[in-house]
Symmetry: C2
Subunit: 176 residues, 2 copies
């Protein structure tokens, strides 16, 4: 699969997963893809924890309410350090977003499905913080998102997007 | 090139470009890759303007000081609308970052080089705003980054990154 195919095949999968386990070798490949993303001033603010221990997964999913991705045999938790790249400029959000996108594409390339889960765990109930506590994440890191990883039971239902000409132009706003 | 190869081949190129033009068909492919990125609650907050008109490029580069990417025959400007996905939650930064990463990978896949240029144009001198004015971008959109696109004159020099085991673990922080 070439990159552009992977980009089109990526889809936010919210269904159930088969119990086929994800080999460590694949989880490493996915995380390496994430860490290969650029970061502002090369500050490398993103770190990752893959979870494939079923007991730990169970504990993590117990706090993820309402549940999502709970049948996936693995997940990758995304940590960020909100440090400045220079002066008062922090690009941590850009950094982890690029890392997540790389991982989502690597996941597709390797035949798995996933979904970028962020808003759900960074809301007022601070689910991400509870997950971080379970994973013994130091306070200077924030757990901002997780990606379930596994073989999907079903086809992924694609969201509808605006047509190209409403979002992309040439040589000036709104120009075809 | 498969996705994982493209992820490794991506590099922040800051050198000069050959004057080989980038066909529209390729610019469209790159922008389509960007627009295929996920967005929080599918709000599609990212829009794009490709510039390949040499006069307009010259005007834009006149305000980008110190210069970067000024020899590239094309650039893609990244616009965002900072609207909320739900309640007070805005994921516009995540959205455009994922779109940029997709475009950087598509650029590599098609044999070009680029660089994510953001901090340089979103600083106090508001270069991005000046660029947006030239491109007649309405006020509700913010020009947050641009990507030069072209065939590189030189090899790209890769930044050094921390080893995997300092940024990625299994089943708990710091665990191998």
């Amino acid at each position: 699969m070439n990159t552009i195919e992977a980009i089109y095949n990526r889809c936010s999968y919210r269904g159930t997963y088969k119990d086929t386990s994800v080999p460590r070798e694949h989880l490493i490949k996915i995380m390496e893809a994430g860490l290969a993303a650029p970061s502002g001033c090369n500050k490398q603010t993103t770190s990752l924890i893959a979870v494939d221990d079923s007991e730990i997964l169970k504990k993590l999913h117990a706090v993820i309410q309402p549940p999502i991705g709970e049948t996936a045999p693995a997940m990758i938790c995304v940590l960020t350090r909100r440090i400045n790249a220079y002066r008062d400029k922090c690009y941590a959000t850009q950094d982890y977003s690029a890392a997540i996108e790389n991982m989502l594409l690597a996941i597709v390339e390797l035949g798995y499905q996933s979904c970028w889960i962020e808003g759900h765990i960074t809301d007022e109930d601070r689910i991400g913080y509870q997950m971080a506590q379970m994973l013994k994440v130091p306070d200077e890191y924030e757990l901002v998102a997780f990606l379930p990883v596994g073989v999907a039971d079903d086809e992924c239902v694609r969201v509808k997007k605006l047509p190209f000409e409403e979002r992309a132009w040439f040589n000036g706003f709104g120009k075809e």
